[in-house]
């Protein structure tokens, strides 16, 4: 019953035009590089993508923009991407901007069977328009809904054959909540380990959330803003 697949193309075989795909990563850190490239190669269109950012012009989710595969983007920050701006202004691309914490919590809620929750984030702003408002202990909150995707793309550091995952440093970011929110969760990792090699106290994502595991080679891991002590 290993969940291991060897072909990224096979892993995404069942993704069709119009699918909703939730993608891990923050900026270009911790993004599922190989799954995104496979999706670009497959060429399916009219996708709804849920991810904190939308890559840069020639890397990450930017590759799907370049190929005009994205119909709608749900994100908190899309400022690093000129293609994005063009497609948005021309009306090709629909955009839903969601505060970063609300986006993370909506994904967690979706994965946890919580259809909606209340938050103070966005009250009194454009984000609150059209949303249910409710007062608790004298403070106003708005209702936000859980998100579930047809597929989730996750990048982890290590996995075992059951799909237990460990992330590395801030490459963790959205990946654990993304893993819970996909009806089918596909995970790419840098290293596959044997069952029992991960300490059960230190597993970040339980394999219960994972349908397929793939091992990627030669991770590019581009850096958006290289800053050093000497700079």
């Amino acid at each position: 019953m290993s969940k291991l697949l060897t072909s990224f193309d096979n892993a995404i075989e069942r993704i069709e035009d119009g699918a909703t795909i939730i993608v891990g990563g923050f900026g270009l850190s911790g993004i599922p590089e190989k799954l995104i490239i496979a999706l670009r190669n497959k060429g399916v269109k009219d996708l709804t993508i849920v991810s904190n950012n939308c890559g840069v012009d020639d890397w990450g989710l930017g590759l799907l923009l370049e190929n005009k595969q994205i119909k709608k983007m749900i994100a908190s920050y899309v400022g690093e991407n000129k293609l994005f701006e063009q497609q948005f202004l021309s009306g090709e691309l629909e955009v839903e901007l969601v505060p970063q914490g609300t986006l993370a919590e909506r994904l967690r809620a979706g994965g946890a069977g919580i259809p909606a929750f209340y938050t103070a984030t966005g009250v009194g702003t454009e984000v609150a328009k059209g949303k249910e408002h409710k007062e608790f202990d004298g403070r106003t909150y708005i209702m936000e809904k859980g998100i579930v995707g047809d597929f989730a793309f996750v990048k982890a550091w290590k996995a075992d054959h059951f799909g237990n995952l460990v992330y590395r440093k801030t490459a963790r970011n959205f990946n654990p909540v993304v893993a819970t929110a996909g009806k089918v969760t596909l995970v790419e990792v840098e290293e596959l380990v044997g069952i029992g090699e991960l300490d059960p106290d230190d597993i970040h994502t339980s394999g219960v959330y994972v349908q397929k595991v793939l091992v990627g080679n030669d991770y590019e891991k581009r850096i958006e803003k290289l800053t050093t002590a000497n700079a």
């Binding site: 400022g79 970063q100 914490g101 009194g124 702003t125 440093k169 490459a171 803003k225």
Partner: protein, 215 residues
């Protein structure tokens, strides 16, 4: 120079033992000014509590960045966590202080800092979460824009990041605090007169007794 004055005043808001979130851009520069004997944990909303200095060239790690996507390090005692946990920390009131940049602040403490209509929308990132969640919100910004118009306004003209969320505003001219009673001028920056602040501030504000006496 102007910026330096703002930053030097802003760093005084940080007390020993605090957990602090510094916004992207100018606020990030405050990190280097925190007294060495303070034990302060800086939070990065992408999933790190305990940001260290920028890395040496051979330490650079693409898996270790801050919310501004800059490569950083983690100091001893740091922890990594996922984005939901990071914002649970922020929204649950566990971060003592957030110091954020601003485009406009209104006299009732509204903040606008994420969007200029007509320009490309980049997104609010974590700003709307921070202003509602952190225990104390300090905004640092220039007092006037490049046309000399006051950015400290009766009402914000730009789309809001949050309503009545600012506790303290620091500009190159002055320091204000916001309470139920309204906006109060607390301090004048070095060499600045009360008249200058009055003339460059659209918002209505009261003046702290300590300043009245000096003036």
């Amino acid at each position: 120079m102007k910026r330096q004055q703002i930053l030097e005043r802003a760093v005084k808001e940080i007390q020993d033992g605090m957990c602090v979130n510094l916004g992207i851009g100018m606020p990030t520069l405050i990190a280097n000014m925190i007294p060495n004997d303070f034990n302060v944990m800086l939070q990065s909303e992408n999933g790190l509590l305990g940001i260290g200095p920028y890395p040496q060239k051979d330490e650079v790690d693409p898996d270790l960045i801050n919310a501004g996507k800059e490569t950083v390090t983690a100091k001893a005692g740091a922890s990594f966590f996922d984005s939901a946990e990071s914002f649970a920390m922020i929204r649950g009131g566990h971060i003592d202080l957030a110091i954020l940049g601003g485009m406009e602040v209104s006299e009732n403490g509204d903040l606008a800092n994420w969007m200029i209509p007509g320009k490309m929308v980049k997104g609010m990132g974590g700003a709307m979460d921070l202003v509602q969640g952190a225990k104390r919100i300090v905004v640092i910004m220039d007092h006037v824009n490049k046309h000399g118009e006051s950015k400290v306004k009766k009402n914000c003209s730009l789309p809001l990041t949050g309503e009545k969320v600012v506790h303290c505003l620091i500009t190159e001219l002055a320091v204000f605090q916001f309470t139920e009673a309204g906006m109060e001028l607390l301090e004048l920056q070095n060499g600045v007169t009360l008249d200058e602040v009055k003339s460059k501030t659209e918002a209505e504000f009261t003046i702290s007794p300590s300043i009245e006496i000096r003036a």
